[in-house]
């Protein structure tokens, strides 16, 4: 049986016999975002998971702060902080198995690091060094994607290829609320549903696309409602509730792995800082809005739960912060070393074999550099 034949075929017979083959009801998101922390369900959450999430989120936030500081010192070209969104970033990445793939956008450095990529390598691009700092195959993390939503069809294609190859691999593709307006979002989700590709799409709805608030981006009841138009389930989750994100993503990953096809998850969260260090958020939003979201902080939510259940004390908090400081110090130290780039590498990876035209240009640059060096010596 081909992949195509496995789908529930939608091909209307002539009216009046017509009937939709998929029941839309199960595809629709619940009216309220799914939450665990602060609800009765939190009691069932595994203590180990809670502790891990807590430690990782604390480190993640510190990473964001350190990276932003590095932009001020000219050590990073740009940094899009995910402060406030750490629960989405980290809980989502932790829902994957090692053999799975992550397709991050430019804001998802934390998710990339959560996959095991070296924190410095994860910043290579944003540092102004080579475009992708890590080998995508090592931790199965695609390059950070800057052109919005363009990574989504890649995730679909990779998941589809893995399935055709008989491999048990799921792809998690991340995109922002603004990115859902791009044609590539639409095309990717449609392909995924038609091919029943094992992909999970995670939209981090952080309220803004740079300065543009969600209300100018969509008139939909929620972004998760888009799922029904592709024939896949749409799920809404409180993106600041790390346990809820982990559960919803784990479910979706399991569903995909079992051959159930893709899921669209919308995580409601908030971008606490400006779009990047280069942005001035005061131009388009007020302090109260930010303050309201600070009161719904992903780390606080975890901390309260852990404390209430006696899983965390002051000592534990201190330890987590210390670990974060250690990471930050290491990051700082290593980012303060100038990377060594070889200008001749401009020509190294354009093609497997440089064209004769590139060989000529390489020779030209080599001569220029030699002349420069000579000039400098004189």
């Amino acid at each position: 049986m081909t992949v195509m034949e496995q789908r529930g075929a939608y091909r209307p017979a002539p009216p009046p016999a017509w009937r939709p083959r998929t029941d839309p009801a199960p595809l629709l998101p619940d009216p309220e975002p799914y939450r665990v922390l602060g609800t009765g369900a939190a009691a069932d959450a595994d203590p180990g998971l809670l502790r891990t999430l807590y430690a990782r989120l604390v480190t993640g936030r510190r990473y964001n702060a350190q990276a932003t500081a590095l932009t001020k010192q000219g050590r990073l070209a740009v940094y899009p902080s995910s402060t406030g969104q750490e629960a989405c970033e980290i809980a989502a990445a932790l829902a994957l198995e090692d053999r799975d793939w992550l397709f991050p956008s430019y804001r998802d450095t934390l998710a990339v690091v959560a996959r095991g990529v070296d924190p410095v390598q994860a910043l290579t691009l944003l540092r102004g060094d080579w475009h992708t700092g890590y080998d995508p195959y090592e931790h199965r993390v695609a390059p950070l994607s800057t052109p919005l939503a363009t990574q989504l069809p890649h995730a679909v294609g990779l998941a589809h290829a893995a399935r055709l190859t008989g491999d048990d691999v799921v792809a998690l593709a991340m995109v922002g609320d603004g990115g859902t307006s791009e044609g590539d979002f639409h095309e990717a989700l449609n392909f995924a549903a038609v091919q029943r590709a094992p992909v999970v799409f995670l939209v981090q709805n952080n309220g803004f696309a740079i300065s543009v608030p969600l209300a100018k981006q969509t008139a939909a009841p929620s972004l998760a409602h888009k799922a029904v138009g592709y024939g896949m389930p749409g799920r809404l989750v409180d993106g600041n509730d790390a346990v809820a994100v982990h559960q919803v993503l784990s479910d979706a990953v399991r569903h995909a792995r079992a051959g159930g096809g893709p899921t669209l998850v919308e995580a409601i969260t908030y971008r606490i800082e400006a779009h990047t260090n280069a942005d001035d958020a005061t131009r388009y939003r007020g302090d109260e809005e930010v303050a309201a979201w600070r009161r719904h902080d992903p780390i606080d939510l975890l901390e309260r739960e852990l404390t209430a259940r006696g899983l965390l004390d002051e000592e534990g908090v201190r330890a987590a912060r210390e670990d974060a400081e250690t990471m930050a110090a290491d990051l700082r130290a290593r980012m303060n070393q100038d990377p060594e780039l070889d200008p001749m590498d401009l020509f190294a990876h354009v093609y497997a074999e440089p064209t004769p035209q590139l060989l000529e240009q390489r020779a030209q640059l080599r001569a220029e550099l030699a002349a420069e060096a000579e000039g400098a010596q004189r």
Binding site: L125, E182, G183, A209, Y284, P343, L346, Q361
Partner: protein, 334 residues
């Protein structure tokens, strides 16, 4: 003769002023794009327009470039004059089908019944330390597309004058804004901005007798600098700023080359298949017997735009231009 004092202004400021004046002069002019409203654009070129003219005249759109350009096409069909902002060069690519199949062709498809007076502003080029996809020189794609005008300023005054002319044009204009010149300053009198002249006129920025540098946009200041440096070597270089790639001012360019007998085309865009090939070929076709040496090209390398830490090796700079001048077969011709 004017008595009003000119004062230094930035290219960014001149562009903002051009948009404002165009909107004030004609209620049909509408600005739309990502972040152009409340924020005033990521480069602040549309700063203040939403406030002054309302959000219906300067509109934040959803994040979808084909949708933005396609919507602008529909608005133009109805008689408006949309000015679209593409946030960066590489982010105009999603709109490519709309651009090639509709924007460029609608007048032709309708035998002149439907014109599309729309301006597509594209910040382009490198030199700003931008990470990948933020520094492309995409002009080759546009100039190979009949039906589009392609324009790019190199000075503050031209930023104003050309943008006004682009908006006034009854045909679609791709208006390429050299990012790294946004904060460059010239003496400019914003009280008496330049009159709108028709598109398609190149200008000689520096007269010289030894050879002609043919260039545009971000490479104009580089060429002027190179011309200064060349004096030390005994070369007196002429610099032609094309300003408009389509239409192309063969007259001004060829007059210069016929005078000097030697020419180099300078641009940031990659060499292979880039504008330089076209320019060199057409100059050679027209001035063959005046040429003492082949028309050379100094351009970006034919590689994806490199990371910020390497961009200085990629961008054509003064030394690379002087090297090329040195290769213009001075013995043979002298």
């Amino acid at each position: 003769m004017t008595t009003v004092a000119t004062r230094p202004a930035t290219m960014a400021g001149a562009l903002t002023r051009a948009l404002r004046d165009a909107m004030a002069a004609d209620p049909a002019v509408h600005v739309l794009g990502e972040d152009v409203g409340t924020l005033g654009g990521v480069f602040r070129i549309t700063d203040g327009l939403a406030k002054e003219f309302g959000e219906d005249r300067c509109t934040d759109t959803p994040l979808a470039e084909a949708g933005i350009l396609g919507t602008a096409v529909g608005m133009a069909m109805y008689g408006l004059r949309p000015v679209v902002e593409m946030q960066f060069d590489a982010f105009a690519y999603p709109a490519f089908e709309q651009l090639v199949s509709h924007v460029a062709k609608t007048r032709n498809r309708t035998r002149g019944a439907m014109s599309l007076p729309l301006t597509i502003r594209v910040p382009y080029g490198g030199g700003i330390g931008g990470v990948e996809h933020h520094s492309d020189s995409s002009e080759a794609y546009y100039l190979a597309t009949p039906g589009l005008h392609v324009v790019t300023p190199a000075t503050v005054a031209d930023a104003y004058g050309l943008l006004r002319a682009a908006i006034a044009s009854d045909d679609p204009v791709v208006f390429l804004e050299p990012k790294r010149l946004y904060w460059s300053k010239d003496a400019w009198n914003p009280e008496e901005p330049a009159p709108v002249e028709p598109l398609g006129r190149a200008v000689v920025r520096r007269s010289g007798r030894s050879a002609t540098l043919i260039t545009y946009g971000p490479s104009v200041p580089v060429c002027l600098e190179a011309a200064e440096a060349a004096r030390a070597e005994g070369w007196d270089l002429e610099v032609v700023d094309l300003r408009s790639l389509v239409p192309f001012d063969d007259e001004t360019v060829c007059a210069s080359v016929r005078r000097t007998g030697r020419a180099i085309v300078v641009h940031e865009s990659g060499s292979f298949g880039g504008p330089g090939g076209e320019i060199a070929a057409r100059v050679t076709e027209r001035c063959f017997h005046h040429l003492e040496a082949p028309v050379l090209r100094v351009a970006g390398f034919d590689v994806p735009y490199p990371p910020p830490m390497l961009e200085r090796y990629h961008l054509p700079g003064v030394d690379r231009i002087l090297d090329a001048v040195g290769r213009l077969q001075w013995e043979a011709g002298s």
